[in-house]
């Protein structure tokens, strides 16, 4: 079957056994790969209500049909499981050589089941699977673990690993790969840790089945060169994503002081210009010519790789504006294997809770050394506070009480990314309806919202744009598994992706065919949520309450006195549901599911919750 290896590797850590399972064209064409494969597998195989940190959860590692083949920014892999922080479907993608090696071992996906008796490293080499002891690196950070793996197998292998955050089941621990960055914000690292799975290593040598391998090779390598030239011409990589910081500060969208403020006069100290000046190296994923990671020395001289989200949330959000301590907090998150975004939001939430008397403590905004101590307590689950904060801001707020849930910056349990939506209704909606909890990867609508529409509007044009972007970003790029940057930052045409798909699979799809898959994948994720939370309603899609609070409105600047309004937000949410074909609770209707070929899945879901 061209375009897919047609095989999934299933591994059981409890029994130390594995089996290779075949899948056919029907499955491949319906779900394509990556997120599509992951949600279908998890929906079919996980019983509702299982403990996400128990042996019954499964970790899915999945790639797409153009994975492992040189083409613009195709070095990404999806990691997915039932999320320990949201309780719903969770996933993330990361750049890694695992992408190429998993496919060259002969698999489009890996399913990890059970729980190992001892810390384990899974080693896959073509048809071989080994369960190896990892006691030597259990308790070690991701950098040392990665070095240990490279010393054994060389630098060319594919690696996914976790740090102490994953081992200790911090609910927002990520999966790391030093060849790219981190993935699986909704706790995929914690799921690995719960299975005592320290690392997965793969080394593959088998050919990847392609309809037109020679044509794809030429197309992919030519296009990599073209994208590289486009990037050089545009100058995007000079500051990469970190240019966003200065812009957010100008338009009152920067998270400052746990999102209480939207801009700060000192923000320039950690903006893209300063980062570029402090740069000692540049980092990128396999098959990428837009190397977006800017590496600087932190305050201990360690090399810390930064992008906008982690600077925004570990910097201004904590009222820290000097790059070296921001770099240090980022390095610690990366080494512990903790999500930098949720990590930043949890730290800022704690400082806010102390300030507002919800919990006693001496942590203050701006205290970098204090934040470092709390971060270590979280990663190692030290003490009551470390343990509570390791649960994420939603659960910590439930424990602290005193109204602190209102300023826990999360949706569905997952913390928001670095965009302060105090008065950006469309982006607030994008966070609200992101299918894995608040994440910017699904739909980044701010520039459209500010440039093409009125900021004050809660109209259907914003809901439509959120959906359009979800179909591309949370759909196409998550199941074909490629990075969105060439398209969104350089204008690389989306029409290129059906060309790649045709070259590898022989299938001639239009972009509309892909959008149908996107809608199917989103609906499937919704069914996963329905099964887990059958009594839930549209309030699950509401952003943090503090954005609606008049007392929290800016007192000066571009949006002084303005804030989100519940009635209007609810209307915007309804526009989204109407366009999507969802009911008033926010779930796809039976008619929508039938149109997307999901009638059987709908019938299965109705055993647990009703559909309109």
């Amino acid at each position: 079957m061209n375009g897919w290896t047609g095989q999934i590797l299933r591994v059981n850590l409890t029994t130390k056994t594995f089996q290779v399972e075949a899948f056919g064209e029907k499955f491949a064409h319906k779900w394509v790969g990556g997120r599509g494969f992951a949600v279908k597998i998890l929906y079919d195989e996980l019983a509702p209500g299982i403990d996400p940190l128990g042996p019954d959860n499964k970790l899915v590692v999945a790639v797409g049909p153009i994975a492992g083949i040189p083409a613009p920014n195709t070095g990404k892999t999806v990691v997915a499981a039932k999320s320990p922080i949201t309780g719903g479907y969770g996933d993330g993608n990361l750049g890694t050589r695992m992408t190429e090696h998993l496919r060259k071992c002969g698999y489009d996906a890996l399913i990890v089941e059970g729980r190992a008796e001892r810390p384990t490293m899974l080693y896959i080499e073509d048809g071989k699977v080994e369960f190896l002891p990892a006691d030597e690196v259990w308790g070690k950070g991701t950098y040392e673990t990665n070095d240990w793996i490279y010393a054994k197998y060389g630098k060319g292998v594919g690696v996914l690993n976790i740090g102490q955050g994953g081992e200790n089941m911090v609910r927002y621990a990520v999966v790391r790969s030093l060849e790219g960055r981190a993935g699986g914000r909704p706790g995929m690292g914690a799921v690995m840790g719960s299975k005592r799975l320290k690392a997965i290593v793969a080394k593959g040598t088998r050919p990847i089945p392609q309809a037109d391998a020679a044509g794809m090779k030429k197309l992919g390598t030519d296009d990599l060169r073209t994208v590289h030239e486009m990037d050089k011409k545009s100058g995007w990589s000079i500051q990469s994503t970190t240019g966003v910081l200065a812009w957010c500060n100008e338009v009152a969208a920067l998270p400052v002081r746990n999102f209480r403020k939207t801009h700060h006069p000192d923000a320039w100290k950690c903006d893209g210009e300063r980062l570029n000046n402090a740069r000692i190296a540049t980092y990128g994923c396999p098959n990428c010519t837009m190397r977006c990671g800017i590496t600087i020395h932190d305050d201990l001289g360690r090399e810390s790789e930064l992008d906008y989200e982690n600077v925004g949330l570990l910097g201004p959000n904590l009222e820290i504006f000097d790059l070296p301590p921001i770099g240090a907090l980022n390095y610690m998150c990366d080494d512990y294997g903790i999500d930098t975004m949720s990590g930043g939001c949890v730290l800022s939430f704690y400082a806010d809770a102390v300030e507002h008397g919800a919990v006693s403590g001496d942590l203050r905004f701006g205290d970098a050394e204090g934040f470092k101590k709390v971060l270590t307590a979280i990663a190692l689950r030290q003490g009551r506070i470390g343990n509570l904060l390791a649960e994420g801001s939603m659960r910590a707020a439930q424990a602290f009480g005193r109204g602190s849930i209102d300023y826990a910056m999360q949706v569905k349990g997952l913390e928001v990314a670095a965009y302060n939506c105090k008065f950006i209704p469309g982006m607030a909606l994008a966070f609200g309806v992101s299918p894995i909890g608040a994440h910017h990867k699904e739909s980044w609508v701010i520039t459209f919202e500010l440039k093409q529409t009125s900021r004050e509007s809660y109209g259907p044009e914003k809901a439509q744009k959120v959906i359009d972007l979800q179909r591309i970003r949370g759909g196409l790029f998550e199941y074909i598994v490629a990075c969105r940057f060439p398209w969104i930052e350089l204008g690389w045409s989306l029409d290129n992706y059906p060309k790649y798909f045709k070259a590898v699979s022989g299938i001639d799809w239009t972009l509309d065919d892909f959008w149908k898959v996107s809608d199917r994948v989103y609906s499937m994720i919704k069914l996963f949520w329905l099964r887990e939370f059958p009594a839930s309603d549209r309030r699950l899609d509401y952003p943090p309450a503090v954005w609606f609070d008049p007392a929290n409105a800016d007192t000066e600047g571009p949006i002084a006195g303005q804030h989100l309004e519940y009635d209007k937000y609810d209307g915007l949410l309804q526009h989204y549901y109407d366009i999507r074909g969802y009911d008033r609770r926010g779930f796809p209707t039976k008619a929508t599911l039938a149109r997307l070929g999901l009638s059987a899945e709908a019938a299965a879901a109705e055993k647990f919750g009703s559909l309109a």
Binding site: S234, G235, W236, I238, Q239, T241, T242, G243, V244, A246, W247, E250, V251, A252, H263, G272, E273, D307, Y308, E309, G312, A417, A418, Y419, H440, K441, W444, I446, T447, L450, K451, R455, R484, F485, I488, E489, G491, G557, P558, I559
Partner: protein, 75 residues
């Protein structure tokens, strides 16, 4: 009258400054201000005036802050 022009991202490197005060004739438009500092009209960008999106023909006022940024897509 004077306005401040702030550039973001690659615009800084293209034009050799990050932020500067610019003397402009009264009733100048955003487009005219950008023309004075040499910003390419055809290059995709988002322009704000005092933190709110600004149209090309919008008139500037004394003390305004005009910001020119690429159309980012997030981190």
């Amino acid at each position: 009258m004077k306005v401040t022009v702030k550039l973001i991202g690659p615009f800084v490197n293209l034009h050799g400054f990050s932020e500067k005060a610019v003397e402009v004739p009264p009733s100048s438009t955003i487009d005219e201000v950008l023309g004075l500092v040499g910003i390419d009209k055809a290059r995709p960008k988002i322009v704000t005036r005092n933190g709110r999106a600004a149209a090309a023909g919008e008139k500037v006022e004394e003390g305004d802050r005009v910001v020119v940024s690429p159309i980012y897509s997030g981190g």
